[in-house]
Amino acid sequence: MPCPLGKRNRLNPGFRAWGSRMGVVLALLATGLALACLCPQFLSVANLTNVVRQVAINGILAVGVTLVLLTGGVDLSLGSVVALSGVVAAHLAHPGEYPLAVPVLAGVLAGAACGGLNGLVVTRGRVPPFIATLGMMTAARGVALVLSGGRPVSNMGPALTRLAGDWARVPVPALVLAAVALGAAWMLRNTRQGRYLYAVGGNEQAARAAGIGVRGVKFLAYALCGALAGLAGVVLAARITTGQPNAGVAYELDPIAAVVIGGTSLAGGVGGVGGTLLGVLLMGVIGNGLDLLNVSSYYQQIVKGLIIVGAVWFDRQRRSVERE
């Protein structure tokens, strides 16, 4: 009998993952090509730099929420956590007070605390993720308002605002996104916890029966997602040079949309960071193109809605054809 786990087939999973993302890749290329023809300034360095700057925050959030969606959960609290961590970081970033690491770490930790609490409520409290994170969405916003007294926290030192600037002509937020995405992709691929995220999302009971600590795995996903939301909040605060308690309203929706466009299943167990990045880029490029074409932001919202539903519809069609 030929070896049932032959070498040729080792390539299969990779090919399949690639194949499932082909739709997004093609959409991205087609959009890029169309924009390059319609408006020459699309391909300019200045504009492309602008695109990556604009998608960075959405991208960092999307990477985090990918982890949660992989477990079959959801996190609706991202926007409020962004605001809270921005306020926390801004408080500690007045000129000459602390070194840069302090506000950054504090913002990330504030986010991780929110995410960890989400995780505890979901795993120990057995509250459905939708409800648990909906509660956090409201409560974290409240904490941000309390900490800031409802006013923007300004007077930010130059060290933190430089986080929103450029480094070797590349926007720092884009570098942060790249580092975060690489780190998350590496974790999903090379660590036991990464594998367990897929197992828990794919079949929670089977994961438990295989001796996996399901609660710990889920907790980790929510905590990491919260930490990344905290990081996104710090980057946002640096960009707008204030800690805004009212920032980030509805910021949770675009990342979830990007993740789903990128092929991660809302039911959990399928997907990854690569697809998420493609989804983020696709949404960013389309938004940028509509800006360049002077489409009013009202219409842009309609287009965005159509893309979200259309991408998933397209995916379903493709999958049902595959199954036949």
Partner: protein, 500 residues
């Protein structure tokens, strides 16, 4: 001839599932469809039930060629199928599930006559001699209960032909007897029945004719009287399986090794009470009983899926607490669960990832995965247990039932458990794979492990066990010697005592 397939072929992707198979069902006969998993039985009946369209050939109803574009059209032609995978709506009542899609109309358009619905539900369940609460939500029933409803549902809908795909897989002895009575009544009324099963004794009890498929081709159709068990097996596997009936008596009986697992007074409310037994090194202990006797629940308690509330578990002499599966696994307890879909597999994950899932801490100490070691271990396990996949990267949900079961077994054993719990390890797998699993169980014992075997197939239990425990209604009622006891005696212990 009420239903026939003429020269039907069907391919899925590259795999040819059926090649020019012809099949006929006469009025009033039970026609058994036999074959190993992947032989094409399910594909054939799905074509007859309108779930698949054939690539070539045709389906004839009462001699007329028909094109069935879905189960509804099949139903209109008098063909109903009882699915192997149950498809109930858990929130609706038993009665509503029974008549789903053909509710009796009320006086106003679009309304349901609820009283007529209830009446009809009671009548249908009465046909099956099933004592089920028609108003209870479907989700509160046991698997056996749900299957009974599914059978009653098909009986109510179909007049001419009923397709039963492993109808007794989850039924208790009493329910099976009731089903066979209903089959007899249906035959008397001229209804034809296509009956798929892996259980030999059932085939010869109910079938008038037997058709054997192998690798998508028709091997033979013959009256049941012309075949016997060994000839039927030979037709199914294409070769003689030597000696599989006498496996247990051939292997050396366990000497009284040290007790690896000792259970004293184990109880969980409503599931089992005061269960005490021990398993020694190198011993296979069989656990017999009817559905709902509490066997799977005891196993779930030992493995930490649903911990016991009282009593003591001792592993290698030391009292232990098992609160979750990871506790059990640390103690060297492994379990092959009964429910492949629920507790067994992560369907979207690759075959090799499913195999290594439980053994990752051993294979990859530390937080990082060691893909090479993992691949090697998975590849070795796949070869050892004969898992046939289109490459290890294939998603496990695409494998046949028998291969999925082997993946679950491979995963459990890869973690090197000393105490192995097997809950219905051969349910729904074909006879060749069954023989392999039987050999594997004997090998486990020979390696000095302790095996707890739960099975609803009495011959399997009698063949493989060193000692046979019988559970009835949550309690352990007998310990028997499988070498001397008969199936009838075991059943007499397992049957509930009727109150006079």
């Amino acid at each position: 001839m009420i239903l026939a397939a003429k020269e039907v072929s069907k391919a899925f992707g590259g795999a040819q599932a059926l090649r020019g198979v012809s099949f006929e069902l006469a009025a009033g006969e039970v026609h058994a469809l036999m074959g190993e998993n992947g032989a094409g039985k399910s594909t054939l009946v799905k074509i007859l039930a309108g779930l698949h369209a054939p690539d070539a050939g045709e389906v004839l109803v009462r001699g007329r060629p028909v094109r069935l574009r879905g189960p509804h059209e099949a139903l209109r032609n008098g063909i109903a199928m009882i699915h192997q995978e149950l498809m109930p709506v858990p929130g609706l009542s038993v009665a509503e599930n029974l008549l789903l899609g053909r509710e009796p109309r009320g006086r106003l358009p679009g309304t349901v006559d609820r009283r007529a619905l209830r009446r009809e539900a009671v009548r249908l369940l009465g046909l099956l001699d099933a004592d089920l609460p028609v108003d209870a939500p479907m989700g509160t029933l046991s698997v056996a209960g749900m299957q009974t409803v599914e059978i009653a549902r098909a009986l109510g809908a179909a007049a001419a032909a009923v397709i039963m795909d492993e109808p007794t897989a989850a039924l208790s002895g009493r329910e099976v007897a009731a089903l066979f009575r209903v089959i007899a009544a249906l035959k008397a009324r001229g209804v034809g029945i296509i009956y798929i099963t892996h259980k030999m004794d059932e085939v010869f009890r109910v079938a008038d004719r037997i058709t054997v498929l192998r690798d998508g081709c028709l091997v033979r159709t013959a009256p049941a009287g012309e075949l016997d068990e060994s000839r039927l097996i030979a037709l199914m596997v294409g070769r003689e399986l030597s000696g599989w009936r006498h496996l247990a008596t051939q292997r050396p009986r366990a000497d009284a090794g040290e007790p690896l697992l000792v259970v004293r007074g184990l109880s969980r409310g409503g599931a089992f009470r005061d269960v005490s037994f021990e398993i020694r090194r190198g011993e296979v202990v069989g656990l017999a009983g009817l559905m709902g006797a509490g066997r799977s629940e005891v196993a779930a308690a030992l493995f930490g899926l649903a911990p016991a509330e009282a009593g003591e578990i001792r592993v290698r002499g030391a009292a232990v607490r098992v609160r979750r599966p990871s506790d059990a696994m640390r103690l060297g307890i492994g379990m092959v669960t009964e429910d492949r879909r629920g507790y067994g597999l992560v369907p979207q994950m690759a075959v090799w990832q499913n195999i290594t899932l439980a053994a990752l801490p051993q294979l990859c100490p530390g937080p990082l995965l060691r893909r090479t070691a993992e691949r090697a271990a998975a590849g070795e396990a796949a070869a050892r247990y004969g898992i046939k996949a289109d490459g290890a990267g294939q998603a496990v949900r695409l494998l046949s039932g028998g291969n999925q079961q082997k993946v679950v077994i491979a995963r459990t054993l890869l973690a090197q458990p000393e105490i192995v719990i097997l809950d219905e390890p051969t349910r729904g797998i074909d006879i060749g794979a069954k023989a392999e699993v039987h050999a594997l169980i004997a090998a486990l014992a020979a390696q000095g492990r302790a095996v707890l075997l739960i099975s609803s197939e009495m011959p399997e239990l009698l063949r493989l066990s060193d000692r046979l425990l019988v559970m009835r209604q949550g309690g352990l009622v007998a310990e028997l010697d499988p070498l001397t006891v008969t199936q009838e005696e075991v059943l007499s212990y397992a049957m509930p005592v009727r109150k006079a």
